[in-house]
């Protein structure tokens, strides 16, 4: 009888660099089972998933549109996680930014876009940062676990949004829970005519560059990494760990707030309750999948955007449930994490 043994040893370098490819293959195998169960052809399904969106200009642009909030959310979460602050509240901070955008969009109508739009983005940033402030202060001053507080505040924020939309902001015309339309001068301009791709995408790309720059090139970035990787040693070396975490948390909340602005002023032009299908939480997946590295986060976000777009085509074309996209994303994350762990082991025959 054959016997096997698991031993700990690092995988060779070539294998490490192929992990994304392997992860994709394994994810494909696992989800194929589900697709077959849904009575569709897995190969065809994956064609719609991964290839079809890139075959036409319209849907390729749509991938970028879908990726915009995902990139920003991933960057937002990464900023906090790198500093050892586990911000689970990007979702709520996103809505804080969206509220700010919906309000500013109605009051800034008189200003030219060159002025109005920067104010919108800044307003969203401040709103998100403010919503992130309380749990961050509790964490830094009183050591209250931020995972719990930031998560709880997400629900609080959803109630606030709901109260606003069913109260003062309810549309007087239709009676729907929907805020008034924002002024045209506050709408994020289109990058390409006759598409949905808007200025928010540029902001998202910029945020990736900023993340990379801050982490690898600035003093504050080094302090963040030191605080996140070795809190005690960082404190000993004179890094003000509390302040570093606090600032990282506020930047994180601010960028999450910009997601809200981007969605309100770039896509919907008013605030509705369903403005985010959980971008704040997906941001955690993306940050983790991207290994808290700026380029990794961008790649993971684009991949998630691709799958999001693909799922819609897929469900139109083959009649499988739209949840398949989310299942695939979650499977991908689990498989990648498992692979990152398993690459340190090898199975041997004894």
């Amino acid at each position: 009888m054959l016997r096997f043994k698991i031993e700990k040893t690092g995988a060779p370098v070539w294998m490490r660099s192929l992990i994304p490819v392997f992860a994709l293959l394994v994810t494909f195998l696992i989800t194929s089972g589900l697709i077959l169960w849904g009575q569709a052809n897995p190969i065809q399904a994956y064609y719609y998933f991964l290839i079809a969106p890139l075959t036409s200009r319209v849907s390729a642009l749509e991938v970028l549109v879908k990726s915009t909030p995902l990139i920003l959310s991933g960057v937002a979460v990464t900023f906090a996680f790198v500093a050892g602050y586990y911000n689970i509240g990007a979702e709520g901070q996103l809505y804080a930014g969206a509220i700010a955008a919906a309000w500013l969009g109605t009051v800034l109508g008189g200003l030219p876009p060159a002025l109005a739009i920067p104010i919108m983005l800044l307003g969203g940033f401040i709103a998100g940062a403010l919503w992130a402030l309380t749990p961050a202060l509790l964490r830094v001053k009183l050591a209250v676990d931020e995972v719990v507080t930031t998560l709880l505040l997400n629900s609080v924020m959803l109630f606030i949004v709901s109260a606003l939309l069913n109260g003062p902001w309810r549309s007087p015309v239709s009676g729907w829970p929907q805020s008034p339309e924002i002024a045209p001068s506050t709408v994020l301009p289109k990058l390409i005519p006759r598409s949905r791709l808007h200025l928010g995408f540029v902001v998202a790309v910029l945020s990736v560059v900023v993340l990379w720059f801050v982490l690898s090139r600035t003093v504050f970035g080094l302090k963040m990494r030191a605080a996140g990787l070795g809190r005690e040693a960082a404190r000993f070396a004179g890094v003000n760990v509390g302040r570093t975490m606090l600032i990282a948390a506020l930047i994180s909340g601010g960028i999450a707030g910009i997601v809200g602005v981007s969605e309100v002023a770039g896509i919907h032009f008013h605030l509705i309750e369903e403005i985010s299908p959980g971008y704040g939480y997906t941001g955690i997946l993306i940050a983790t999948l991207g290994a808290l590295n700026a380029w990794g986060v961008a790649a993971a976000a684009l991949f998630f955007g691709l799958i999001d777009t693909g799922t819609q085509t897929l469900s139109h074309a083959m009649g499988v449930p739209i949840y398949l996209g989310e299942v695939t994303q979650a499977t991908m994350l689990l498989v990648t994490l498992a692979m990152l762990l398993l690459q340190n082991y090898r199975i041997r025959r004894v």
Partner: protein, 504 residues
């Protein structure tokens, strides 16, 4: 009869060959010392034997049978136990829980039962620990004892001790050696890593010397001497450092006035401690580990706030200041636990810059070129065996300590606060560090040397203060101090009148 044979063991870390075709045999019932400079590959070889690393080449035989050791679990099953340089204890658990962790028979943990069993084991092996104490609150020395007890509790036939005496005071070392001799008589085989030649001569039956990852030779202890071993280790004769008598400066650079502080449990750890260190003076703090030295160092680093009293550095009041304020005021700190002083996941260069980031910044941006140059200069000057881009966690124990020294001493601080600065360093490096501390003294810095190594205290200090249960029980000028007198004071048996010298 060889209980363990390691044949042709090779281990590479990237371009570094940490072990190069090493042959090593351990006889049943012997104490075998493993000697070598920092970075010679001792820890790596032992980690391979304990299943923490896998050898790239070579084989291991236990009692003549080829075995595969892929994890500590395999090693433990083969009767091999190891006490590592950096402890593997769970801080929030009690001593008893740590000892039995992963080695319990039933499903239910009965607190009283395991505490009683651990207490019995501790007594049998002559290791003094309180089974119900929480590990987080123990000193480094006490944690070491728990680690040794843990291995023995698992019925180890082979015990690997990686620099066990580095954290022990003379009396504890005597007790450990007695224990080891007793266990050897009972058939235990011990691999004993140390940098102290005198210990090798005292306790071991045979010695294997490593240099640059290769075996220089294995000799019977009875047929060798310290000189020969030192030559094998470093390839040259070594000399101890000598403190030259010279007048101490007048200017008090560090003044500690009636400082009180609490430990992590909120119990008083420092009781009205008063000290003065002058320019050009080394004040040694002697004492058994766990008598408040850790808290004193933390208070003087800005990591722990004193509950009362004052701290003055060159006249500037730093009571309750933050670590970077202490650094800015000219206090250089060498921490007791070197792992607490560096961020393992950051590079050597980043760690060297971390304390002085303002100097490596241009408008908030890192001057990466300057950081690299600074690192390379210090690596060269302090003979650190590492590259600037290496992650700090991959450095050997001694090189990690050199990294911290480089960071502190390259700044010419006014006050040097050194806690156990040569713990775990080889003879050459120890000599080097001591010379550096003397050079700081000659330069006019005030040096506060906290050490459990009496020889070190006696060799370097101008005055010696003894700490016992959070108090300074006496301060002696170096010429009045001898090991017996200090030993008595350290055990709390003799109390010189508090303050008689402390205020001088």
């Amino acid at each position: 009869m060889d209980i363990v044979q390691m044949r042709g063991i090779t281990k590479r870390f990237g371009p570094v060959v940490a072990n190069d075709h090493i042959d090593f045999n351990l006889r049943k019932g012997e104490i075998h010392a493993l000697l070598g400079e920092n970075g010679a590959g001792k820890t790596t070889l032992m980690r391979i034997l304990y299943g923490l690393y896998r050898a790239d080449e070579g084989e291991i035989l236990v009692e003549g049978w080829p075995v595969r050791i892929n994890s500590p679990k395999d090693a433990i099953a083969l009767g091999i136990g190891m006490v590592t340089q950096h402890f593997a204890l769970v801080p929030p658990l009690t001593v008893a829980e740590n000892v039995v962790l992963g080695f319990t028979d039933g499903f239910v943990l009965e607190k009283a039962t395991i505490e009683q069993r651990v207490a019995e084991a501790a007594k049998r092996f002559g290791l003094e620990v309180d089974p119900s104490a929480v590990v987080r609150h123990l000193s480094v020395g006490q944690r070491q004892r728990v680690e040794i007890l843990k291995a023995l509790y698992r019925e180890a036939r082979v015990l690997i001790l990686d620099e066990p005496t580095a954290v022990l005071v003379p009396q504890e070392i005597d007790a450990l050696f007695e224990t080891l001799e007793r266990l050897r008589a009972g058939g235990l085989s011990v691999i004993f890593i140390t940098h102290k030649l005198e210990e090798v001569m005292r306790i071991s039956d045979r010695v294997t010397v490593l240099r640059d990852g290769r075996v220089v030779g294995t000799v019977e202890t009875a047929r060798t001497n310290e000189r020969e071993l030192a030559r094998m280790m470093v390839g040259r004769e070594t000399f101890g450092v000598r403190r030259e008598e010279r007048a101490v400066g007048e200017q008090p650079l560090l003044q500690v006035e009636r400082v009180c502080a609490e430990d992590d449990q909120g119990l008083p750890a420092l009781k009205e401690v008063s000290l003065v260190v002058h320019a050009g003076e080394i004040l040694g703090i002697a004492g058994v580990g766990g008598n408040g030295q850790k808290e004193l160092a933390e208070v003087l680093s800005g990591v722990r706030r004193p509950t009362s009293g004052r701290i003055l550095v060159d006249g500037q009041d730093l009571t309750g200041a933050t670590p970077d304020e202490f650094t800015a005021a000219g206090v250089g700190r060498i921490p007791e636990d070197r792992h607490a002083g560096v961020v393992g996941e950051l590079s050597v260069a980043e760690n060297l810059a971390l304390e002085y980031l303002e100097e490596f910044a241009r408008g908030g941006m890192l001057d990466r070129e300057a950081i690299r140059r600074h690192a390379e200069e210090l690596i060269q000057r302090f003979q650190i065996k590492a590259r600037a881009t290496d992650r700090a966690r991959t450095l050997s124990g001694g090189n990690l300590q050199k990294l911290i020294l480089a960071r502190v001493l390259s700044r010419d601080p006014k006050v040097v606060l050194a806690s156990q600065p040569t713990r775990g360093l080889d003879v050459g490096a120890t000599e080097y560090v001591r010379q550096q501390l003397l050079a700081q003294r000659a330069r006019g810095a005030a040096v506060l040397l906290i050490s459990e190594d009496l020889d070190e205290i006696l060799a370097l200090s101008d005055r010696i203060a003894v700490m016992y249960e959070g108090e300074i029980v006496g301060v002696l000028p170096a010429q009045d101090a001898d090991p017996e007198r200090l030993g008595l004071m350290m055990s709390g048996a003799v109390k010189e009148r508090q303050g008689a010298y402390a205020e001088v």
